[in-house]
């Protein structure tokens, strides 16, 4: 359960140098309870900003964001334990050089013992059919494998909510299907931003963002229709 409330959550960039104050998200009130939520919208509309609010990577300038009752501004660390975040570019997300090391890194706060940690990491990778690449450099993986490793690392920390920012761009059809299936199989609540309308159509609820405002919000068919009218006139 995620709530954006207070007088409405606003994100603005403070004026700096010559640049004037800029509003990235206009006052917004939201309650996100559905299991599968998709966010769509144009480039620069504010999708990533909205997603980053959900785990406190972006803080509201006005209002509050609460995740399972925790305030992202004051309890950021706790919130980030609840919320797993999958970035667009898996190479930016994978902090260490091999899948095994990276998954282990996620397990550090949970599993004290080193060899136990290693064993669990390998097991999690094996669970996604990635055992054979566990000790390979992430640079030598295919796009789909990288994306799956990133997802495995995020899930290793046992989050209760998974937020994913365009997790299927750069992928070919087969890899896209694979990541999509992996996301669909999760029991956790999933919030994702995407340009892939087929992926959005599978959600329980779709938000359309435009110019930092929620332009439409509802069942996939209506919301996607609103987006198409917006873009193609």
């Amino acid at each position: 359960m995620i709530r954006l409330d207070g007088a409405g959550v606003t994100v603005s960039l403070p004026a700096s140098g010559q640049a004037r104050t800029r509003v990235l998200l206009h006052p917004t009130t939201l309650e996100l309870a559905e299991r599968r939520i998709a966010v769509i919208g144009a480039n620069g509309s504010g999708k990533s900003t909205l997603l980053r609010l959900l785990n406190g990577l972006v803080l509201p300038s006005v209002g509050q964001v609460r995740v399972h009752g925790l305030d992202t501004a004051r309890q950021g660390r706790e919130v980030r334990k609840l919320v797993g975040f999958v970035f667009t570019d898996p190479l930016a997300q994978l902090v260490l050089a091999t899948p095994a090391d990276d998954v282990e890194l996620s397990l550090r706060p949970l599993v004290r013992d080193r060899s136990e940690r290693r064993a669990q990491a390998l097991q999690l990778l094996a669970g996604r059919g990635l055992a054979h690449v566990a000790d390979q450099s992430v640079y030598d993986l295919s796009g789909g494998e990288r994306q799956l490793v990133a997802l495995t690392s995020v899930l290793a920390a046992r989050p209760r909510i998974v937020v994913a920012d365009e997790p299927t761009t750069l992928l070919d059809l087969r890899n896209r299907d694979q990541v999509r299936d992996a996301l669909a199989a999760l029991e956790q609540q999933v919030v994702l931003a995407t340009h892939d309308l087929d992926l959005a159509a599978e959600a329980d609820r779709v938000l359309v963002v435009d110019g930092g405002r929620i332009l439409a919000d509802g069942k996939p068919a209506e919301a996607i229709g609103a987006y198409l009218r917006l873009v193609r006139g």
Binding site: R52, N55, L57, R77, R80, K81, V83, G84, F85, F87, D89, A92, Q93, L94, V95, L96, A97, D101, L105, S106, R108, P109, S137, Y139, S153, V154, A157
Partner: protein
């Protein structure tokens, strides 16, 4: 380029010796002779480091070969000291220089990179009271080690992009995008760390 590429696997006693002991050897071989500046101790340290290095059985070339430029350097330095009539210093300076190189090889040829890093992080523990957080330092080192090949990759990409545009002879045009991308990459990594609840103090 592999930061861990120096290690030569083996089973000799130096391979098995704890990292802490190897550091002690290293310091004992190099620092006293630097301070003493006497020919005989310097020569003795050189011989001892040579013998120790031989006992690692990593192969004579890897162990003892010196770059040609170093030979030139040794000749010039020795020549200078002889010219100012200090033959003792000619011996001291040359011997110490070679000892320093051999002593560091003792460590790097017989110890895998990850072991070196673990030892370093362990050695930082006593500094906790001074505000050093060994876990964070360990994480920083891991990111650094991973970033070196990434940056070299960026350099290659940037050079390709510059070549594609026919502008590959300008140092500024090559270094700028590397540094800009390094900063962008670091910010992305920082966000990824924070998102995973890691690296925050």
């Amino acid at each position: 380029m592999n930061l861990f590429g120096l290690y030569v696997p083996g089973g000799t006693w130096l391979h098995r010796l704890g990292v802490g002991w190897k550091y002690l050897f290293l310091l004992a071989l190099t620092v006293p002779v630097l301070l003493l500046a006497l020919p005989w101790p310097s020569l003795a340290a050189l011989v001892v480091s040579g013998l120790l290095l031989a006992s690692t059985r990593v192969g004579a070339r890897l162990a003892f070969a010196l770059p040609w430029a170093l030979w030139v350097l040794l000749a010039v330095l020795a020549g200078y000291q002889l010219a100012i009539e200090r033959p003792d210093l000619a011996v001291v300076v040359s011997a110490n220089l070679v000892t320093a190189i051999y002593a560091s090889r003792l460590l790097t040829l017989t110890t895998p990179g990850p072991v070196l890093i673990d030892a370093l992080v362990a050695a930082l523990r006593p500094f906790r009271r001074l505000g050093v957080n060994p876990e964070r330092v360990g994480l920083a080192i891991a990111i650094m080690v991973r970033s070196v090949p990434m940056l070299l990759d960026t350099v290659a990409q940037v050079r390709q992009a510059a070549r594609a545009r026919g502008r590959d002879r300008n140092l500024f045009a090559l270094v700028t995008p590397v540094v800009v991308r390094a900063v962008g990459q670091a910010q992305a990594t920082g966000a990824a760390l924070a998102a995973r609840g890691l690296g925050e103090s």
